[in-house]
Amino acid sequence: MHGYLLFAGKRALLMLAVIFFGVSLTFLVTHLSPINPVEAALGRMTARSVSNPEAIVAMRAALTELYGVEAPLWSQYLNFWGRLVRGDLGPSLMAFPTPAMTLVMRAMPWTVTLLTVATLITFVVGNILGGLAGYSQNNKFLKAFGIVAIAIQPVPYYIVAFILLIIFGFLWPILPISGGFAMNVTPGMNWPYISSVLQHAILPASSLVLVGFGGWFLGMRALVSNVVTEDYVTYAELAGVKKSTIVGGYVMRNALVPQLTALAMALGGVFSGTVITEQVFNYPGLGSLLIDAVNAGDYSLVLAVSTVSVTAVAIAIFIVDLLHPLLDPRIRAE
């Protein structure tokens, strides 16, 4: 137990460092840039309508106060942390006066669900099939799977999502390609809504699964094909241990330890993929929100989405790391 606590403590420290670094980076990028957010917002606001000079002066004063840009950088930085801890990053300009955090929290469940489901399917199916492919290397079906995995794996997220969109949007339109649920259902705990949500999630989720799957499959196949050459596997085979026990209990379990580390390392990238998938399928999550915010020039919303996504990914990595001792008893015993 003591070893586990030490391990968890180290990981928690890393998580805090990641959050600190990521949030500081977002702050520095936005504040050291040559573009003044006040003038930029003002320019966009006055571009479409004619306002009298006094109104512009008043607006400039209000915006300067809102962004707090006249204070020295370090006090802005401390102030930023203070507001972040309280969960208040100012009102969104795109959907004024809704707080940016409210918009983020509304989009959050969509992204988290999509990401969790897609990652779980990808990781579990990819590793099981990869493990089997590594163990029985002459299986024709699994060999064909390997070729498919090699062909899809390197293609960028966007292209795969885009190809799915063309196939199911233009060539064979059977699945909804846009939005989180149909227009004609009322959100809540009723069957039409839930089934609509599920239907709309199929394409975004399967594009994520298609892209992510190959990596786990190929990685696990390579790991397992090395593990099966170890002496203890030969020994277990000679001793007449059941094949399923060897594959599931010894070979896969040993090969899964580096795969779990890889999962923690890959989560940041998977999140980036989700952002893109959401944009392609117009899914109402954090990714769509981020891109809408950039296009609308919504300063506080962009900051809110970036800081929240950095924090969320760091927490998710921490959770995956905590699973390690389940697989690897050495961490518990240390």
């Binding site: 960028p156 966007y158 885009f162 094909s225 050459t229 891109i291 962009v302 996504s309 990914v313």
Partner: protein, 285 residues
């Protein structure tokens, strides 16, 4: 070197396919140096012409010859990938070799930084950079930013090799012969990690070109500079698929898939070649 190449072609079908794909792609990209038209200009030809003998890949709704457009786009995308891969290789070799050889608190500190960089999701960060730089964001700036995030995975890999090299006899000889740390790392250890550097080089190119495609498709780069992503961006903004200009989308997508598959197969077969166990299995020994 030549013998290695011959062996790979003979025993490794993936490597052979990868070489063929990458050769085609690179030749096509090199053609852009002989382009008769300026690919940054628009409305030079009749718009929306399907592929024909005059326009091999058709023309798009902006009146550009897709053949030369794609050739230039390919060159720009590959150059972009090369720049990111080169810079991030330098960082990862430096960090990896130093952390592995020096050990102790240097190792712990470097790997802590390394883990932080692994965990930060790059896409929101890149979007943030675009958000504040807007039109000042050119592909060199983007390449520099991406290179700063593209090193940690490979630095860890190089470190693990360097850890093993540290305790080998020849390192001790070199140190006793009075070689400086810099010399030991550059002249004794670097050759051992070069195969990994080559294999990860291509993976890193894939990663950076893929991210550039994604950013450009969303319009978050300099959209007047033809790359894979910007070609698709313009196709999307003209709703090419809806109005039936399919060649504007299908041909670039095929080229992208060819490029990625080719580079990936090269990287994968090189990785396999580095590991002697899988190399022997493939040769049937």
């Amino acid at each position: 070197m030549f013998a290695v190449f011959r062996d790979l072609i003979r025993y490794n079908i993936e490597f052979a396919i990868g070489v063929v794909l990458v050769t085609i792609v690179v030749l096509f990209a090199l053609l852009s140096f002989f382009s008769p038209v300026d690919t940054s200009l628009i409305y030079l030809t009749i718009p929306d012409q399907p592929p024909s003998w005059q326009y091999w890949f058709g023309t798009n709704s902006r009146g550009q010859d897709m053949f030369w457009q794609l050739s230039t786009a390919l060159r720009n995308s590959l150059t972009f990938g090369l720049i990111v891969a080169l810079i991030s290789r330098v960082i990862s070799i430096t960090v990896g070799l130093l952390a592995g050889y020096l050990g102790g608190w240097v190792d712990r500190a470097l790997m802590f930084v390394n883990d932080i960089f692994v965990a930060v999701p790059i896409f929101p960060v890149l979007v943030l950079f675009y958000f504040v730089l807007r039109n000042n964001m050119d592909s060199l700036t983007l390449a520099l930013i991406m290179a700063c995030f593209g090193w940690p995975f490979d630095a860890r890999l190089i470190r693990s090799v360097a850890l093993g090299l540290k305790h080998r006899e020849f390192t001790r000889h070199a140190v006793f012969a009075g070689m400086s740390t810099r010399k030991v790392l550059l002249e004794e250890h670097l050759p051992y990690v070069m195969p990994i550097v080559f294999a990860t080089f291509m993976n890193n190119m894939l990663w950076s070109i893929g991210l550039e495609v994604t950013l450009a498709v969303l319009g978050f780069t300099n959209i007047n500079n033809p790359t894979f992503g910007t070609v698709l961006y313009w196709a999307n903004s003209h709703s090419a698929m809806v109005v039936g200009v399919w060649w504007w989308i299908v041909i670039p997508v095929i080229l992208i898939v060819m490029t990625f598959l080719g580079l990936f197969l090269l990287a994968m077969s090189m990785n396999e070649y580095i590991d002697p166990r899988s190399r022997l299995r493939r040769m049937g020994a």
